[in-house]
């Protein structure tokens, strides 16, 4: 573990991205203490430019709500939803992939056909459909995103399991007498997970984007500040006051970029080293 961390630390881009994300997460978590302004409160004059008034450093939106507060609270929503959704998607996908890879035969066939079915519908549309049915609450959004993205990890895990099951060290574990549950848990999973974890970076990033897209379209909870919704609100005044959309857009961009970099960094750091010839 520690050598993986050392390798990760050597990747400058990933390290920087990790710092950025950590700062963002911290800021989002401590939002009410850092900047104790209610994001929904109509607090100041509408459409105040950023960097003009110290009371509202990033300006205000069309209703006069403080943008910095909205950005911070929006971060909360985006991050929490994205992480929860990505986690759920990975959990579900890994479980399906593991079951399919290990069981083989009819079970594998059945699970793969279900996976196919989910994959034929474009992910975003599926999420849209779920949210329309389940409602705009954060929990529904999480479920919707998970439902639309679990198929990727499922196929990845299954492929890894299938290729691993033939490898000598797995056979050696069988010969050593390890029971099947232990082989799955101790030998197969730790070796199958790293590519999936790398995919997790992309998964989280895409979850952030889907959540923003859903709120952009007005399908998420209208009572909570969210980056996607902020971008949507800024559309009406895009030409005159572009920062309403640009600021949350930049926040979205940097978050997704950072998540991707950290994911790649983790993948490289966790990859097992090959021995010298």
């Amino acid at each position: 573990m520690s050598d993986a961390l050392v390798r990760f630390a050597r990747n400058r881009a990933a390290l920087l991205a990790a710092f950025l994300l950590a700062t963002l997460a911290l800021a989002a978590a401590l939002a009410p203490h850092l900047w104790p302004i209610d994001p929904e409160a109509v607090d100041g004059p509408p459409l105040l430019r950023p960097f003009t008034d110290p009371a509202h450093p990033l300006g205000t939106d069309r209703l006069g709500r403080d943008l910095l507060a909205r950005l911070l609270f929006g971060a909360r929503l985006s991050l929490v939803v994205a992480l929860a959704a990505a986690f759920a998607s990975l959990l579900l996908g890994s479980a399906v992939g593991l079951a399919a890879g290990l069981a083989g035969g009819r079970v594998d066939e059945l699970l793969m056909r279900v996976t196919d079915a989910f994959q034929t519908v474009p992910g975003f549309l599926l999420a849209l459909a779920f949210v329309s049915v389940l409602g705009p609450e954060a929990e529904s959004v999480v479920l919707a995103i998970a439902a639309s993205s679990w198929t990727g990890p499922a196929r990845l895990v299954r492929a890894e399991i299938l290729s691993l099951a033939r490898r000598d060290f797995v056979l050696a574990a069988v010969v050593a007498g390890l029971p099947p549950v232990e082989i799955a848990w101790r030998v197969l999973l730790p070796n199958a997970l790293p590519p999936v974890l790398a995919y997790a970076g992309a998964n989280i990033a895409s979850a952030v984007l889907v959540e923003s897209a859903l709120s952009f379209l007005g399908l998420a909870d209208p009572n909570r500040a969210s980056w996607g919704a902020m971008i949507a609100e800024g559309r009406a005044v895009l030409v005159r006051e572009p920062w309403l959309s640009i600021l949350p857009g930049l926040a979205l961009l940097s978050t997704v970029l950072a998540v991707n970099l950290v994911g790649e960094g983790l993948d490289e750091a966790l990859a097992p080293r090959r021995a010298r010839p």
């Binding site: 000598d168 060290f169 056979l171 050593a176 007498g177 030998v187 730790p190 097992p272």
Partner: protein
Amino acid sequence: MSPAGPLLEVEGLAKRWPGAAAAAVSDVSFTLAESERVALVGASGSGKTTLARLIVRLIEPDRGVVRFAGRDLLALSGEPLRRLRAGLQLVFQDPLAALDPRRRVGRQVADPLRVHGLVPRADRPAAVAALFARVGLDPALAERFPHELSGGQRQRVAIARALACRPRLLLLDEPVAQLDVSVKAQILNLLDRLRREEGLAWLLITHDLGAARAASDRILVMAEGRIVEEGQTAAVLAAPRAPATRALVAAELRLPPPEPAPRLSP
């Protein structure tokens, strides 16, 4: 042979891979006694690796019987099979592939101890250290990962793991094929020492006649899935009869005979 009967009995074992034109293993029968060292030699494709995997039941045979210490290996499953497996261990050809790249080697050697409940948790580190010492490895190496060890060290780890459950029979699949000459000698000598100390029997699978000579008393020659010749190792290799055996012996490269060496003085 011990009064309890042969240690390993194989009768009529056969396996054909689906879609293959010829059988990989075809009607193979032989026995192996306690503390006996038998070599199974053949060119690649002769079916020897498949046979080894059939014997430990990593592959299911189409036909045939495998009896280990009198018990039918093929009739067992689940828990009793796993326990019987403790007595019959397989050492793989490529130690780098046979060790989990993500776990420290000490943990992997401890696996059989843990799984078969041979040693309580508190005593396990000491037991692992003792196993390492027995195969000539510094116990401190237990904390390393497989890619951090040399080929010879990895093979010793694999042997240590195989020895953990005190097996009576070892199947060694090309254990020294990937190793340098000097390391090869060390591993073969180690095996010899272990045999003398613990009364191990083994089935050594190899295409290398030198290893067969050094580490077996009896030899079985395989070709195209069948056993085509068997007998005392030295005798068979000195006067081979089956065409496959002749081909193996003829292909062996021999060194020119030595001349008396000049005295070296520092």
